[in-house]
Subunit: 197 residues, 2 copies
């Protein structure tokens, strides 16, 4: 998927300016599809207008600079429908935190603790964000999406909170410089305490 389709999808739900599309796609409820910045959104909108899939009206405001408000038309909706009909590509999940976890033996417990707490804070922030989106959604409309997201977020956070100490214990046991009471850093020799599920 690309910025083009993202713009069509947003405009399908509401008229918007390039500025608003960027906000929606980085912070708002369209943040789970593609990253897009001004440098890709403005050219994409210009091209869509060129091709006749969207229309544009200029709104002058006093004080603030003028807005170019885009609207989708039926040609655009057809194009969007066509894109949507294709089988979805698999979800993408990427986590720098997991890579840190995989290389825990290179870091001391302090580093690991900081990374873990940063990560927990990030997931918490995400959960709050999703929760706030609910207010934004019309009654009964598409709230299965909201419900799906909340369920996954809650599980993730619950697990992280329940296993924080165990992760740190494990980190201490494999850390390269960790050599207290001779247990040392032979990888594989240490058994991780059973994780709570």
């Amino acid at each position: 998927m690309n910025v083009r389709t993202l713009c069509l999808a947003i405009l399908h739900h509401q008229d918007a300016t390039g500025y608003e599309i960027r906000k929606l796609s980085t912070e708002g409820k369209y943040a789970y599809f593609v990253d897009a910045s001004f440098g890709s959104i403005y050219p994409a909108l210009a091209k869509l207008e060129d091709e006749g899939l969207v229309t544009c009206r200029l709104e002058h405001q006093d004080g603030k600079p003028a807005r170019k408000v885009y609207s989708i038309n039926e040609v655009g909706r057809d194009e969007l429908r066509l894109n949507l009909k294709e089988s979805p590509t698999p979800d993408v999940f990427r986590s720098e935190f997991l890579l840190i976890g995989m290389c825990a033996d290179l870091l001391d417990v302090g580093d690991m603790e900081r990374a873990l707490d940063t990560h927990i804070a990030q997931v918490e922030a995400e959960q709050i964000k999703i929760n706030e989106m609910k207010a934004d959604l019309p009654e009964g409309e598409n709230n299965w999406l909201h419900n799906y997201g909340m369920t996954c977020m809650n599980t993730q956070l619950d697990w992280l909170r329940a296993n924080r100490e165990r992760i740190l214990q494990y980190s201490a046991s494999v850390a390269r410089d960790a050599d207290k009471d001779g247990a040392g850093s032979q990888p594989g020799a240490i058994t991780m305490p059973a994780a709570a599920e």
Copy 2:
């Protein structure tokens, strides 16, 4: 994060060729960090060797083409450690399926059903993949990562299976051409059946 760091992280755990690194980072246990193809991996390895962070030995095999097996050295591990010490950026989650869900009103129920079942099959495949990774991991080593992943995957799949019918009912109620028994397609007028959590 980039291909460079990914290569260092993989080489921290095992010697590998460019070919193997690609497999590990697209299908294997390093698939949650960065997408990388030959076009980015080979140049990255060459540069790392150039900079003296990794070494390379040529392994001739009969029949198959020769392999260039890379190993990380202490300079490389220091560089990796430096990268890992930085606070992790937030997890990235992208889903084309969710975008389809958001635009359900543009599709008929058949399209939605196909998309949903494709998605469920993809999550199932992912779950199986993660499960198979466990056998690959040394006893007790880093299995909290495995446990974390399985917990999230299970929740996701359970939710999808429990709510499949409700999603399709909702889809039918908002589909643009859906006009049986006059209930029609006024968005917002339909209340979604309560979702099972």
